[in-house]
Symmetry: none
Subunit: 215 residues, 4 copies
């Protein structure tokens, strides 16, 4: 309250605006949340702006006060999904970056990934839907992720921790593609394979051309 009173003292209009802005943000947040839910279930095409507004319990016109169009929400949602994922992976990897323990790093990465998939089965659907239109939109997302991985790889190579036989860009794409396919396959029915076997297999595949050199 001290903060808010500070603000109100500053300008008579500030708080009102603040209230309105807060409400606006709440509405926007509800729309985003509804979008997540629905896109995860039905994909970009399977959802109408009316659906989203209805789910968010606002009028259909309200949607357009917050987003230019349907693609924009999808974009935003997809972007935030990637951010979450990247952050999640980074958190898992950072301890191992310093120790340069590549196998441990890759393993932690796979573990984080699988954990993320478990916690956010819905986001997996959104992240890895390589929908032709989502491609125009969000596939850039996978590309970004791939680039991140490629970059990491280049660094490893430059410091001599990985062999040079693999093209980093290709590896990045390959890893992302692998993740996308495996995780969406697994998310559909997690009983298909045990969590541990999944992590182990992903780790093994990705270790190729990495640990071997180190070993």
């Amino acid at each position: 309250m001290s903060v808010s009173s500070d603000k109100s003292t500053a300008a008579e209009k500030q708080p009102r605006v603040s209230v309105a802005a807060r409400s606006r943000q709440a509405t926007r947040a509800r729309l985003v949340e509804s979008g997540r839910l629905l896109f995860a279930k039905n994909g970009l095409h399977g959802v109408t702006t009316h659906d989203i507004a209805h789910q968010a319990e606002v009028a259909s016109g309200t949607f357009y006060l917050h987003f230019k169009n349907k693609v924009e929400v999808f974009q935003e949602i997809a972007d935030s999904c990637v951010s979450e994922l990247i952050e999640c992976i980074d958190n898992a990897c950072s301890p191992h970056r310093e120790t340069k323990d590549i196998p441990a790093l890759i393993h932690a990465q796979a573990e984080a990934l699988v954990g993320f998939a478990e916690d956010h089965r819905d986001l997996i659907r959104i992240l890895f839907s390589a929908d032709a239109d989502a491609a125009a939109v969000g596939s850039g997302i996978l590309r970004a992720l791939a680039e991140t991985i490629a970059e990491d790889r280049r660094e490893l190579v430059s410091v001599g921790l990985a062999q040079n036989g693999l093209d980093p860009a290709v590896l990045g794409q390959a890893v992302v593609g692998m993740w996308a396919q495996v995780l969406s396959w697994w998310s559909e029915d997690p009983t298909r394979v045990s969590r541990e076997a999944l992590i182990e297999t992903l780790t093994q595949i990705q270790l190729t051309g990495t640990s071997r050199v180190v070993a």
Copy 2:
């Protein structure tokens, strides 16, 4: 004479049927070809039945003389794509199956795959579009491919040519995902990486848990 007249009646009818049937098949083929072209460019949703008919230079109603609906053509096209791909891969692999030379086999597989992508850039777009709706349709396609790979793997393991640490089902999904992503990325712009580097990298990644055991 009765016999000959029978024959002449048959002969009278045969060609008619044949001509009509031929024309029908030609039209159908043009529709399929147009579908290929357009689906590759714009995806399942980005194409209308009118587009396909127009591209095939037939009236829009004609489409429905040959297909029940848009999904049916897509299905058919996608199915034939997979068949082509599988055949292409099989051809490349078969010589090495007998010699049990796994590294050579994997390499040949990667080479065939890249060759296929070069020759059929359009099909790649169709094959590997994990479109949410195409999923309901053709994604079963990727699943089928993945299962084929998993099956191959199980065989290798059973004859002791591959280690058991990797789950075959997961490996199958992973390989397919990798192919899908890498090939569609590369197809967009083949100058991104040399043909050879691409093959080499795909080979290396997939050799994991295969050649190592052998070595």
Copy 3:
């Protein structure tokens, strides 16, 4: 062959034409029969010319060699239905016309009607479908029937066998409407009411203003 040679002797072209004409008429008859079947089941709108041709086992274009359009077959079929019905009724009534036994005549009429409905449940559907379009077509049919009844009535009145209180034209319409409704209702499920009760009731209603005068 002896017969055909006879004909061929008469005129070289005659038999051929005759054969062709016979075949043509057979095709036409099959189309009409198919139309009857299908119109009875699905109504004018529920049937396509393709359906009719298919049912008749001829090509769809053949339909147009025999009829100008769909309405024309319907017309023809409906007309022949009315003719059959009228003939059927006339046969039943004629014995009583001479004896001037009106109640017996009306009863015989009702009996004939119900018998007709039993034998031709399908035709009932066609005859009495007051479809808006069938109206433009076949409703004239009911009108014709109504006019016949009105005419009969006028005659009865003129010879003093019926009272004058009822307008013949209205009576004609009323009787036809009654028949149409009752028979199509009954045709749907003849267990609704016994044959005898049905005849009795129809007779009673129609006797109004007829037998009463006589009685």
Copy 4:
């Protein structure tokens, strides 16, 4: 003040809702009215949803904001027609129900019916179109009416006011069929027969087996 502000908030919202709702209802009413007009003229099949929207001077999509499909409007219109008719008849009959004056009741009924036909020539076309598809929809309507009449009849019989020789269900169907045919015939051209002759004839026919027994 908090209370008044609550109210003002409510007041702020109430009118908006009201205005929108009023406008919505007005549009819906226009659509229904247009449907009445057009269905009366052209029947269920002769009218498209575009026609209705156009006639109502709204965009074609607007139709679907108010009705699920064409059949739904037709249903609604037809239902309301029957309600109006039944109410009209009931009003005319009720005074005579108590006096048990059957001839007067039947006469009043016929009078009401003819009056209704005069006032609502369009509704007659809708009510009594035994269209094959309208049958799937609204013909149930005629059936309902017939059942009402049958029920009335059973009551009359049970209190001894009508003879038992006629099957009530058949009578119901017969009366409805008679009305349908006569009224639509007369509506087309009311100069065909005088209003009085029409009423008299309908009355006479229906009196059969009713008043006679009493008399």
